[in-house]
Amino acid sequence: MADIYYTEDHEWISVEDGVGTVGITDYAQSQLGDVVYVELPDVGKELAQKDEAAVVESVKAASDVYAPVSGEVVEVNEALADTPGTVNESASSDGWFYKIKLSEPSELEDLMDEAAYQAFIEGLG
């Protein structure tokens, strides 16, 4: 059973057995507009919490996607190369960006749960 956490930068991470799947939230994709390109990290890359992990390019601008937790990138979503629009259509599932093997699971305590994130985005107006 996976646990899902959220960052204030609108990333989500779904953690199961020490590996987190990371994407951007539906709120984030609606703010961005049509996604035309995603630049993913290399498999094997070591990331520290809050490092720039990926770049998501919309028609108007590029935005950085950060690492919600520290760890090693173990897989990336190759399908996004051909269909970056999946990020818009299915941000919270098929539009995942990369999977990271957590090096510091306690970092998850810094993140929000679903309810807290919903309250957070409502507060953004």
Partner: protein, 377 residues
């Protein structure tokens, strides 16, 4: 994920007569040239762009400056400020030209239409005040410069635009030549219509009284082919069409020759001069320029935006992107910029420095998507 910073403006934003309509349509409003304008509607930039090339889109461009120059001397007088051949313009015909300065830099680009009692000029919103002051200072007293702040401007663009116009204004509009103008009734509204636009497609720009603008726009949107489109799509359309955006691809540091706009200066005016910067332009025509505006086509999918450095195969800097983005009709990233003349050859391999890494690209011919202008006489 990083978010674009909110633009905070000290002065309240101006609105066009279609502001309420934009909000009703779900327009995402952003500041542009001091106006609150829709960058997109719920369909999104890509769909709005593609719809324009497939059917017809309606753009609000009322933020642009509509100016009337009155007086018999207007045509010859305005020629003192622009390199364009206005004396050759027949009545109700128009052309694209620019205000130049003494160094042959470009102060703004504009459309000039010859009308019965003078000229009708459309200038960019960001340069509106400066352009009007420039004309008032540079034109003789006998030519009055009237800013038409009680008029809206709408652009109906796309291959189906003519069908919509024919339905609302009569079949005669089908044979309106490209770059011509007419005073006609469109759907019951008195309009000044030009067959022109800035998307690379066939289409019309329609000037209507501000008081009529909301009802007129709704009338057009009621037609099956027409969808609203915002400034985001307007930008991606003109970029694919190879058209310059003032303040980005052309400005006071670029001459019309460097910008590849020599076609806007007729032989008579090239030889006779009589506009600011004429001597510089004549020199550049005789001796060449050190840099040229070209199309740039990145390989792959990485978008290279404004200010991206361009380097040659050996890694030496040769220029800079001035406009870049994703081209939905082109199916990938497109851009334009200036490169050293030696490198300004279609097909030449270059690299673009995006996020610190070189990305392969080629100098490309423009437009990236063929123009759809009406070719009938």
């Amino acid at each position: 994920m990083s978010q674009s910073p909110d633009a905070t403006n000290a002065a309240p934003l101006k609105t066009t007569p279609l502001d309420a309509l934009h909000r009703e349509l779900g327009g995402k409003m952003v500041p542009f040239a001091g106006y609150d304008m829709p960058v997109q509607y719920p369909a999104g930039i890509v769909k709005e762009h593609l719809h324009t090339r497939a059917k017809a889109s309606l753009f609000d461009v009322s933020h642009m400056g509509q100016v009337r120059l009155l007086g018999d001397a207007a045509v010859a007088a305005l020629e003192a400020l622009v390199p364009g051949d206005l004396q050759a313009l027949k009545p109700m015909r128009m052309r694209y030209t620019m205000f130049t300065d003494d160094k042959a830099g470009i102060l703004d680009d504009l459309m000039v239409t010859r009308v019965e009692d003078g000229l009708f000029v459309v200038v960019n919103a960001s340069c509106k005040e400066a352009d009007i002051a420039h004309m008032r200072a540079g034109l003789p007293k006998g030519v009055s410069v009237e800013y038409l702040d009680d008029r809206a401007l709408l652009a109906l663009q796309g291959p189906a635009a003519v069908d919509v116009m024919a339905r609302l204004a009569g079949e005669a509009v089908r044979t309106m030549p490209f770059m011509s103008a007419a005073d006609i009734d469109v759907g019951g509204f008195a309009c000044f219509v030009t067959r022109s636009g800035y998307t690379g497609e066939d289409g019309f720009e329609i000037s209507v009284a501000s008081a009529d603008a909301d009802a007129f726009a709704r009338r057009l949107l009621a037609e099956a082919e027409v969808e609203p489109a915002g400034l985001g799509a307007r930008d991606s359309l003109r970029l694919e069409a190879g058209l310059c955006l003032y303040g980005h691809d052309i400005d006071t540091t670029t001459s019309p020759i460097e910008a590849g706009l020599v076609w806007t200066i007729s032989k008579r005016r090239r030889e006779a001069g009589g506009f600011p910067g004429a001597a510089v332009i004549q020199d550049q025509l005789a001796n060449g320029v050190t840099r040229k505006r070209v199309g740039i086509r990145p390989e792959g999918r990485v978008v290279a935006r404004e200010h991206t450095a361009i380097v040659d195969a050996g890694g030496s800097p040769i220029g800079e992107i001035t406009s870049g983005g994703f081209g939905p009709s082109a199916g990938g990233p497109v851009g334009m910029g200036y490169v050293a003349t030696d490198s300004a050859q279609v097909g030449m391999d270059v690299s673009l420095l995006v996020r610190g890494a070189p990305r392969p690209a080629q100098v490309a011919a423009m437009p990236f998507v063929p123009h759809g202008y009406f070719k009938g006489k």
